[in-house]
Each structure stands twice: as C-alpha cells, then as structure tokens.
C-alpha cells in the first residue's frame, strides 16, 4: 500500500471523520475506495513522488468534506446551508438515516420482521453454542449430531448474509473461516467431554446410602 504519506494519512483520517454520520459499511467502503484511488494515482507518479505531486492527487479528489457532502447528497439527505460549500475542516455532522422524513408504521414492522429473520440464525447460534458448551453435549432430549448440524447451518447462513452485506471479501472470508474453525474445534472438544462424561455410565454404579 502506497498511502503511507502523512498527507494521505491525514486526508483519509479527515474523510473517515467527515463520514461519521454514514452507515459503517458505507463509510468503510467509501474510505477504502478513495484510498485505493490514491494508491493507483500515486503509483502512476513513479517510484518516489514529491509531496507536491501527492498533494495534487488529493486536490483533484476534492476536500474530505466535499466527499462527505456528496455522500449526504447521494443518500438523499438534504443538507442545511449552501450545499456543497462547507467550511468546517472535519467532523462533519451528517443527519441520521431517516431523519428527513417520517417512516410509516408498516415499514417499521416490516423492517423489524426482516431484522428478526436475519438475526434468527445468530440467536440460534449463540443460544445453541452456550447450551452446548455448558452441558458438554446436546441439551437433554436433543441428539448431539442434530445440534451440531443446526450450529453449522446457522454459521453458514450468517456467513452468506454477511457476505452479501459487504464488498470486503478478504476480511469476510478470514472471519468466516475463523468462525467455522472455532465452531468445529468447540464441537470436537464438547464431543470429547461428552464421551468422557458418559463413560462411567457403562461401569458399576456406586450407591451411597446415608444412615438415618
């Protein structure tokens, strides 16, 4: 990565701050895209570009506030004052999503239902994982292999949902593989614990009677 120049680092930090009101995924995507643009433009300048040349690249990009204002405009969020001329150097407070208009009740209900549908695999995963870890095997009445399959399906479903929500494929892939490995290792350990815990059941039973 070539964006190690102090000028570039300061510009990207300003941009990140200026996008403070954006959704995190949008904010990350815009800052990453601009950094990628700077990398490519600086690379075209040769092996050791001067500070003035790097400053020229940043000047063509516009100020961080210009970019943030473009996001606010693109997101259909009306800005107060003379758009897009902003004088504040950084930390532009962008209106929150949905602040410009009231949301109908049915939209809220629909969003809650969609949110629950997306969160269901996560909740199942957490609840199932906690029960599995605390009991050392499947909860009473459930086959161990069934619980494992449910956990695996939940993990894969979450992975697919998250994959669709981001363009940062490498980060997603690493996170997904780590989550899958953690799940498999936990399941293996729980399986071992379960096996060692059930072994005494086949042996002789010791009955301790207490004197009255």
């Amino acid at each position: 990565m070539l964006t190690t120049s102090p000028l570039v680092a300061a510009y990207l930090a300003d941009l990140d701050r200026a996008l403070a009101g954006a959704e995190p995924a949008d904010r990350l995507e815009i800052v990453d895209s601009v950094a990628e643009h700077i990398d490519a433009a600086v690379e075209e300048l040769g092996a050791s570009p001067t500070q003035a040349q790097v400053a020229g690249v940043l000047r063509r990009l516009g100020t961080a506030d210009d970019v943030a204002a473009a996001w606010a405009g693109a997101a259909d969020r009306p800005l107060a004052g003379a758009y897009p001329v902003w004088s504040a150097p950084s930390a532009v407070a962008l209106p929150a999503a949905g602040a410009a208009r009231s949301t109908p009740t049915w939209v809220v209900v629909l969003l809650v239902l969609v949110g629950l549908a997306v969160l269901a695999p996560a909740l199942l995963l957490v609840v199932g994982g906690v029960m599995f870890a605390s009991v050392g095997s499947a909860p009473p009445g459930l086959p161990t292999i069934g619980v494992l399959i449910v956990l695996l399906v939940c993990t894969v479903a979450l992975g697919i949902v998250w994959r669709r929500a981001t363009t940062h494929r490498r980060a997603w892939l690493i996170g997904f593989i780590v989550a899958l490995l953690v799940l498999l290792v936990s399941a293996g350990m729980a399986g071992l614990a379960s096996r060692s815990g059930t072994a005494p059941q086949g042996g002789p039973t010791v009955v301790v009677e207490t004197a009255p």
Partner: protein, 114 residues
Amino acid sequence: MEPDDEGAVLTQLRRGTLEYCVLAHLAAGPSYGQDIARALGADPVLFGSEGTLYPLLTRLRRRRWVETTWQTSPHGPPRRYHALTDEGRTALRGFVAVWDPFRSGVDRLMKGLP
C-alpha cells in the same frame, strides 16, 4: 440559491444526472474507480472533484444498479471493478428515454430568452 451562482446550478444538475453518466460509462464494460473518474473528469462540467465519485458508486451498488467485484490488476494490487447490472441497464434506458425530450424542452425555452 443566488441567480448568478453557476456552481449551485451545476451542483443541482449533477445531482440528477451524474449517476446516469456513470451508468453510461459502465455500459461499455466493467471499470474501476480511477478509470471512471478519469472518463467523467475529462469534462469539468460533469465532475466537480474525483472523490465525489465514490459515494455515488456506493449508492449505485446499494440500489443494485452496479455490482462490485475484486479483479487482479497487471499494475499493482487488485482493484474494485464496477459493472452494470440488469437493473442498472433498465434504469439507464429509462433515463435515456426521458433525457432527450427533457433536454429539447429546456433548449426550446432557453433559446427564446432575450
């Protein structure tokens, strides 16, 4: 808005048209950010500054008019390539269908000015 504030007029016009200019550029094939910025920036009337392209691309992707993939580059690290989706193509056709009569109407009125 001041009547003589050309910058504000340009901003308003760009707001409604620039995204379709991006779609029109992508109609020729997938492209990466710097390439799009260079193409649109060739005409200063279209583009105020290159950086404003990226929020626009984010918006287009959220609308599913554009899809973004990583592709290797012969000159450096992988790049985000943006491609027109079927929905984007439909949106572009809709804009083109409206743009000509809209422009003709505006031209007709403006030509009549003293």
